[in-house]
Symmetry: C2
Subunit: 334 residues, 2 copies
């Protein structure tokens, strides 16, 4: 089966199958990715991140429904939920979604709940995004639990990043969010009918003012990129992340959210930031792939007993880890 051709022809079953192979990083998955890659670059990637309990899955659901009702767009949703291996959160989320979105051939929902491979998860997500992009999906929403650096990495894939908050989750949670706020293009206070919505909004405003990010840091698979924000000048209109209220269970605030997303896309296009975000994304991905490739090659080249011997010297404190690494890289017997 030629996956790439089938997918370019709109074969939904082939798409589902390829997604699995790409997620498992099989050789035919890789081959198809390579063939599909020239057909990518058209989709708008939206990252949605937020702690459990913020209602972000339902928000994504409503946003997708809104797009389906108002625009002729094909939408893919990738739900990444590595943090709840026991509850099967991603699977449950899908079931809830099915009610509203199932049967619509222009919506495709995919969840990933791989455990213990968060670094690999960022790469796998990037690959799934490429498949959907080539398959002609106009909007690809990547939803992650906003709990740590790895989720920030995954959100960093996006052209537009939504950070979802909700009242009543405790002020302590704000502290965790500091790193995530820096990547927010749009802040959403969901469950806005709950008490405390003003406080949540106020806290976000204060944090936004404190943040003033002058550089963005991207980490991906062990690779780090620092990107200094362009200096403010009269020609560069800076994007100030808006804070929006929604009640996703009722659909309240969803049109306004879609509108903010559209304004952000137009900002990205006119400011040239669309291209610079693409460049950063590929820079990070390329470095991650090189790192992995170098390590694989190294493991093929260095005989296992030599590696084991070096490790043993470290454990016995005869050699520091740094010396052992250097000696292995120089091909000397430790």
């Amino acid at each position: 089966m030629n996956f790439a051709q089938a997918i370019l022809n709109g074969d939904r079953l082939a798409l589902a199958r390829l997604l699995t192979r790409v997620e498992n990083d099989t050789p035919d998955g890789r081959a198809a990715l390579k063939e599909l890659f020239p057909h990518t670059g058209k989709a708008h990637l939206i990252g949605v991140t937020g702690a459990p309990g913020t209602g972000k899955s339902s928000l994504v659901n409503q946003l997708a429904l809104h797009y389906r009702r108002t625009e002729e767009k094909r939408i893919a949703i990738i739900a990444v939920d590595p943090s709840s291996p026991f509850t099967g959160g991603a699977v449950l989320g899908d079931r809830v979604r099915m009610r509203d979105l199932s049967g619509d051939p222009n919506v495709f929902i995919r969840s990933m709940a791989s455990r213990g491979s968060l670094g690999g998860l960022a790469q796998a997500t990037a690959n799934l995004v490429q498949v959907f992009d080539a398959a002609g999906f106009d909007i690809i929403i990547v939803e992650t639990v906003g709990a740590g650096q790895s989720e920030v990495d995954i959100a960093g894939l996006a052209h537009t990043t939504l950070v979802v908050e909700a009242p009543g989750l405790g002020d302590d949670i704000q502290a965790i969010k500091a790193g995530i706020l820096e990547i927010a293009d749009i802040l959403v206070v969901n469950k806005a009918d709950r008490p405390g919505v003003e406080n949540t909004e106020k806290a976000l405003k204060t944090m936004l003012e404190l943040a003033h990010p002058t550089e963005r840091v991207f980490k991906h698979h062990g690779a780090t990129m620092r990107v200094t924000a362009p200096k403010k000048n009269e020609n560069t209109k800076m994007w100030i992340p808006p804070i929006l209220r929604t009640i996703s269970t009722e659909g309240t605030g969803i049109p306004e959210l879609a509108d903010a997303v559209a304004r952000h896309v137009s900002h990205l296009r006119t400011s040239g930031e669309w291209d610079s975000r693409e460049r950063i994304r590929f820079e990070v991905e390329l470095e991650a792939l090189v790192r992995d490739g170098l390590m694989s090659r190294f493991k093929e080249d260095v005989p296992a007993p030599a590696y084991e011997k070096a490790l043993e010297s470290v454990i016995q404190r005869k050699m520091s880890p740094w010396e052992a690494a250097a000696s292995l890289m120089n091909g000397r017997q430790p």
Copy 2:
């Protein structure tokens, strides 16, 4: 100044200075680390992790005070708090600690709040631990905010890992903790005088029963290790993580916690797990160092224009990221 010798002689000022250089990865810091390494391997490393608001800093404080009062032990505390760049959490925590622990020459507190370098943070923490170990500190407590994979990595350095929970932080938080529970050797429900303590304890029990970890996954600087737990047999006594209640502000439950830690150490020693945890730690560290070293060398070897050209081909969709990485590694011009 010969840092290593000064530190082995108990020079506190030299210790403070070296910690800074090691954290900044300077050449003299590396040289001293190499010299100190043969003197490591004696300290007991305790990792303490938990969300903001669980009161883990105060718990660590109390535990240190308890050790100082009851045993003739030297104690180092490393507070890693990368997640609150705005509040300066680590610094504030230190000030609170100063009241109780300052002036005691056998206690050394060090905080790290580096932003945007979580991968590097795990390595930096490992290096600081080595310095303290060589300097003769018997117990080294590494405290992290339990928010993501990187914190799990850092906690994974420890011989004994304490996961701190508190009532009233919202059930949703439990989901985030799933990955962290797997690394817990001892579970602490702090602020046990708060309402909801039974629910928190019950939730932890349920999750522990669901967890049954058969393998431990360590991620560090992009390297992943899977370690299958030894098969249960009559000779291997499995460690069941106890759940303890504490009220750290009053010191309630601290002696019992210290007791559980002591029982865990004795379990590690008799089961041989002390050695296997050391092996894993060095295995992960060695791989991380090799990965970094290979990448540095690669960047020296490959001319910047060739790298830029490969990246440009990717951005223009002429070549997939995977092809570009392969061509760069094979030294072919893309």
